[in-house]
């Protein structure tokens, strides 16, 4: 027994901010102080609050140390671990604002969260199967294999109301029942861990923080659908996740939880890992299967659906990581446990990756039906630097944006679809008044143009044409007709593309046109970028009151666009100005601004 446990985040965010060195320093210092038998250091998965990384929590107190540096370790070990005095000045600031120091779970960021898929992330050592088992791990599998028929399992998943968390929101139980119905000499289970939506990292955190739950869930799915082999397709950009999955699969095999005759039930199941190689389209289910088969990851027309003819032309069930992560809890605690959370048609919780212009960047898991306002203001801690919230982007390159006027929308699948947005995999990027919505639409379209696999014409050529129009607009050469052209191209691409990538590619443009049409009009008619982002539309002006006439700007201007005499206010000739910004960075009196 240890009297104290120190949990250090070993997720990608904190590893990038050097948590590995912190663990080494901790272990060294604990050893030196002779506390090795009393204090245990555990490298966990992601805690979620990545903005404050590296993070570290000391139990039993739940003291939440944030932005820890290697230099702080001797003090924490000496004071807190040896003498029992919490080092207040190194704690996360919010926990020290009240007379009693708050534990990590009482902070605003964690208080409103409800962790089902992330329940073990930041709690257990993901590289140790026994810690997972101690958290009721593999009990759901035991229950399914020894007490339930495959139909029972499917019915519980159906009754839970779980819908696919990868974006589409298709009912999971129904999907499983389709594969179960088809007889074949071989069926497969595939886990889609090709999390390509830029700005989303919930799947990675589950794989890094709780890999065994995916192994367990896929085995349960195999039992329910009659599959004996599974593939996990992971982005190659996630080396830590791959490493921990490999360990988890090896340990599960050693414990007889994968392989032949699991739990003496006569059921066989095994798993393989396949690495992606950086193609966004492979997140689409048929493209992903084509890629596992060793081909260019191009999508296939549906029907036939994967439940009939999927991987290697056999019936296949494919679910995303977060969907699988909910399964063990649903089986273990029953459908009612899960469907008591959420809204009428969207049950359970959803994990969001909060990013962009928000104070508490990180991962949050909330019950469906939580409003965007609660997520951003309460959990996310608001917008930095006192700026105004402008929009939240969901669903990545396939999604749309939610403007400030709709901040009280309850987040679930149907409400988001109703406002022309989509749940997507759960990336939630916050934008403030300094972000130009036309530029954001261009950013996403640039992404889809680049990632279009080229198989079908509407997506390959259509998105390119839309991109050209957006470039024209941001360069100040757009017309009002271009906006109509964008809309008609968008609807054509949506209707005629082969797969989800093309069908949803125009969404960011349509959503920004819908909610921020005035910004487009400002670009096209007034030739101005209200947020001051699109360079071609900016005019640099010198404030006469602030200008001291030092001539520094005029001497540095590469095109001689600035004129004026010593000690008199200067002026910029905008017809000569190339908008390089040299004058702004040189001015000592902050007299030059972009308008």
């Amino acid at each position: 027994m240890y009297r104290s446990h120190v949990l250090v985040c070993g997720g990608t965010g904190c590893t990038s901010s050097n948590s590995t060195a912190i663990i080494e320093a901790l272990e060294k210092e604990i050893e030196a102080k002779g506390l090795k038998d009393e204090v245990k250091v555990i490298k966990t998965g992601c805690f979620g609050l990545c903005a404050l990384g590296p993070v570290m929590v000391v139990y039993p107190e739940g003291s939440f140390y944030s932005e820890v540096k290697v230099e702080n370790i001797p003090e924490i070990v000496e004071e807190h671990l040896l003498k029992g005095r919490i080092v207040k000045h190194l704690l996360y600031e919010e926990t020290t604002q009240t007379p009693d120091i708050k534990s990590i779970n009482e902070t605003n960021f964690y208080k409103k969260q409800k962790r089902v898929a992330l329940r073990n992330c930041g709690v257990i050592d993901p590289e140790n199967i026994e810690e997972y088992i101690a958290m009721d791990g593999y009990q759901a599998l035991a229950k399914a294999l020894t007490e339930m028929t495959p139909e029972d399992v499917i019915n519980v998943v159906k009754d839970s109301g779980l819908r696919g968390r990868g974006g589409g929101g298709f009912p999971t139980g129904l999907k499983w029942s389709f594969t179960a119905k088809n007889s074949a000499n071989q069926k497969y289970v595939v886990c889609n861990a090709d999390e390509g939506d830029p700005g989303a990292f919930m799947d990675r955190s589950v794989l890094e923080g709780d890999p065994h739950c995916i192994v367990e869930a896929m085995t349960i799915c195999g039992y329910a659908t009659g599959a004996t082999e599974g593939y996990i397709y992971v982005r190659a950009e996630y080396p830590i996740a791959v490493h921990r999955l490999e360990i988890a699969i090896k340990q599960a095999r050693e414990y007889g939880l994968l392989g032949k005759d699991i739990f003496g039930s006569g059921f066989d199941f095994d798993l393989h890992i396949r690495l992606g190689a950086g193609a966004f389209v492979c997140g689409e289910e048929t493209a992903l299967m084509t890629s596992i088969e060793g081909n260019r990851g191009e999508p296939r027309p549906r029907p036939p659906y994967p439940a009939v003819k999927g991987l290697f032309a056999k019936p296949t069930t494919e679910n995303n990581v977060e969907t699988f992560a909910n399964i063990p809890q649903i089986i273990l605690r029953g459908a009612e446990y899960f469907n008591s959370m959420g809204t009428e048609r969207s049950k359970g919780t959803k994990v969001f990756a909060l990013g962009g212009k928000i104070n508490n960047t990180g991962l949050v898991e909330i019950p469906m039906g939580t409003t965007l306002r609660e997520i951003i203001e309460d959990i996310g801690g608001g917008i930095p630097n006192g700026k105004k919230f402008k929009a939240a982007q969901t669903g990545g390159p396939s999604g749309g944006c939610i403007p400030a006027s709709l901040m009280d929308t309850e987040i679930d699948y149907d409400n988001l679809t109703a406002i022309g947005c989509m749940m997507g995999s759960g990336g939630l990027i916050v934008m403030d008044e300094d972000n130009c919505m036309v530029d954001i639409a261009k950013f996403f379209l640039d992404f889809t143009v680049d990632e279009s696999c080229g198989k079908c014409t509407p997506c390959r050529i259509g998105t390119k044409r839309m991109m050209e129009i957006l470039e024209k607009i941001t360069n100040g050469k757009g017309t009002l007709e271009d906006l109509d052209e964008l809309e008609s191209l968008a609807s054509y691409i949506k209707d005629n593309s082969l797969c989800g990538l093309g069908q949803t590619a125009p969404n960011p443009v349509l959503a920004t046109l819908r909610f921020f049409r005035d910004e487009y009009v400002a670009h096209v008619v007034d030739k101005k970028c209200p947020a001051g982002v699109c360079k071609a539309l900016l005019n640099f002006v010198i404030d006469e009151d602030k200008c001291k006439g030092c001539t520094l700007c005029a001497r540095n201007c590469p095109v001689g666009a600035i004129s004026g005499t010593v000690r008199n206010p200067h002026t910029i000739d905008s017809s000569k100005c190339i908008k390089c910004g040299v004058c702004v960075s040189n001015c000592k009196f902050k007299a030059i601004s972009k308008k």
Binding site: S16, P198, G356, G362
Partner: protein
């Protein structure tokens, strides 16, 4: 996606070839492992010149055109060698809204290379990458395996200086 194909002559060693042959030997009976073999080959050679693709095609008994097709489809397969230090600037959404483009522009200004290029001395290469998942540290760039977060364009020259010595 358009890929830049290297004009630098191929300089593989017999040791590298032996390593690749061992990988191929292990995998040749399962053609679905083609991508795995290519990933291993890239780990051995650092990139996938046509000579290496040919060895894979012959060894796996898969047409070269298919190997080439796969290598040009996926962003991670490099057809030209990377620099000793590969600078990878994240252009995921979270980084982009926090100004990642200005980081790329600054690196280009200092080193004179665009995304996808390598400096003449082979020391630095620059690429824009998709989300590396460190969104809490946005904007980020990584140089080989070292990640630098919460950067501003002004800090770039300081970061690069560590490697320029």
């Amino acid at each position: 996606m358009l890929k830049k194909i290297s004009k630098i002559p191929f300089k593989g060693t017999p040791e590298q070839e032996a390593q690749l042959k061992a990988v191929i030997e292990e995998c040749k009976d399962d053609k679905s492992l083609l991508m795995h073999v290519m990933q291993q080959a890239q780990a051995i050679y650092g990139y996938l010149p046509i000579e290496v693709q040919k060895m894979i095609a012959d060894g796996m008994d898969i047409p070269l055109e298919k190997v080439y097709g796969v290598s040009t489809f996926y962003a991670q397969f490099a057809l030209s060698p990377k620099g000793e230090y590969n600078i990878s600037v994240c252009l995921g959404t979270a980084c982009y809204v926090k100004g990642a483009q200005s980081l790329i522009d600054k690196v280009t200004e200092i080193l004179g290379i665009e995304s996808g290029e390598c400096t003449e001395d082979g020391k630095f290469s620059l690429e824009a990458c998709r989300c590396i998942g460190a969104c809490g540290l946005a904007p980020v760039l990584s140089i080989n395996d070292e990640v630098y977060g919460k950067l501003t364009a002004d800090q770039i020259s300081g970061v690069l200086a560590k490697y320029q010595a």
